[in-house]
């Protein structure tokens, strides 16, 4: 339980990585790192595909990254219509990557491929927890 609180609208209720949402409420955006072999995962995984271990720790994602790409959605899937338009993108923290929406206060014309960005936790007015990409 607990993962239904993730994102604007969650499609998953139960996952072994649900602690991710608790960490968001504490203001932390964390991935998992394998205690056996050190492999790092974002989004977090409960199982290490490199060494088959299920012994995982949490680590905070880096603060500084570059926006690798983005899109502005002018048309939304069922259940997301009220948010339109919204921008989504991929951040590259030198190898580790993250997909999320961009902060609402970032104007579309100011968003550029390659710009310096950071990521922040986000709580929606209905209590849903997420994270967003913001200008560095």
């Amino acid at each position: 339980m607990g993962f239904e609180k993730f994102g604007r609208k969650s499609f998953t209720g139960i996952t072994k990585t649900a602690k991710f949402v608790d960490l968001l409420t504490e203001g932390k955006i964390e991935g998992t790192v394998c205690k056996q072999c050190g492999a790092k995962f974002f989004p977090p995984r409960a199982d290490c595909a490199s060494c088959f271990s299920k012994d995982m720790d949490w680590f905070e994602v880096p603060k500084k990254g570059k926006l690798e790409t983005f899109t502005i959605a002018y048309y939304a899937p069922f259940g997301f219509e009220k948010d339109c338009p919204y921008t989504m993108g991929v951040v590259d923290f030198s190898g580790l990557k993250l997909f999320a929406r961009l902060a609402k206060d970032l104007k579309p014309e100011d968003v550029k491929v390659g710009m310096d960005v950071t990521v922040n936790p986000l709580q929606y007015e209905d209590g849903q927890m997420s994270f967003e990409i913001a200008k560095a």
């Binding site: 604007r8 499609f11 790409t69 002018y74 939304a76 069922f78 997909f99 579309p108 491929v113």
Partner: protein, 393 residues
Amino acid sequence: MAKDVAVIGVGQSSFVRGYEGSIRELAFEAFREAMQDAGITQKDVGASVFCSAPEYDKQRSPAGVLAEYLGLIPQPTFYIETVCSSSSSGVKVGYSMIKAGLHDIVVVLGFQKMSEITSAESQERMGRGADIQWEAPFGTMMPAYYALYAQAYMAKNGLTHEDLMNVRIKSGTYGQINERAVYRKGVKAADFDASNPDARMAGAVAWPLRVGDACANADGSSCVILANAEKAKAFSKKPVWILGIGAASEAVNMAARPDFAKGLSVGYGAANEAYKMAGITSKDVKVAEVHDCFTIAEIMAYEGLGFAPMGEGKQLIREKATYKEGKIPVNVDGGLLSKGHPIGATGGSQIRTIVLQLRGEAGPMQVPGDPDIGLVHNVGGVGLYGNVTIFGR
């Protein structure tokens, strides 16, 4: 290059909006044409493979239901799904069963009746063909995913909106002459001009992609009949052989994707495998069908298949090299953009086009010069699955 498995029959329904019939009747349209093309009856068929994206079907486990309606029981029947590449995956399964000696003739039937749900529901369901745990909660959808590739690709490689528009204009050229296409109108630059009040294609969907950059949903079915060498020679005057068959997969999450400016990795992976198996290179391909679910996808496919160097796909559209008379004709049946994209039926429809081209039976769409080698590139999801299949006479 081994000639062990051939296509001996192809069929396709018209691709339409709102098919007036049920899925079994839709499936029968492609089946009838393919069986008559092959000149066989149901007793000649050893097994059947049905392919669709199940989120559109109210019918659970459609293979058994369709096998009965097509008269293909009591033979074994299977159901295969890789979203938009389901029916080319079905062909790989059929090919494998024949190569293994399990069956002499296999029917591969792809179908999709998309019109039973609304466009917004459809976008949500297709979006859930991506990562529902970590991405769908942000409100993702297929156009947005392809737009991520388009944005990075355009920034790095100098591809313009005009280039994307010209891909759509090319598909419109052939959609007009393909009587099975859902979109039969030609496309003009004025259709993309935002200052033109009648512009049908200028509205932004997921920037940088616009309405005209996206393929149309459609209802449709396709059928490919595969046979071993002995049966192919017995039944078919013009067997078209599967010379190479490649497939690949990629991480579902965008956070695990390599360089967005380099296109879909499954395109390269599947193409390399298929070329190697066929013992040919991209230069030997005379006509191709590529997965143009969005205009950007066609440009990326040019590079994945080796028709253009990395980052130079735009040159092919600028030089009109992928038109029917060009050096490498691509999607001269209108592609997914104009012919339409009934998810599960698409791969089989692409294969039908190439088979007709290699038999010299493509009518007004026939590529000149008696093409002897053709290629089909079919992608599932946002480059989640990729199949490349090479055909020859």
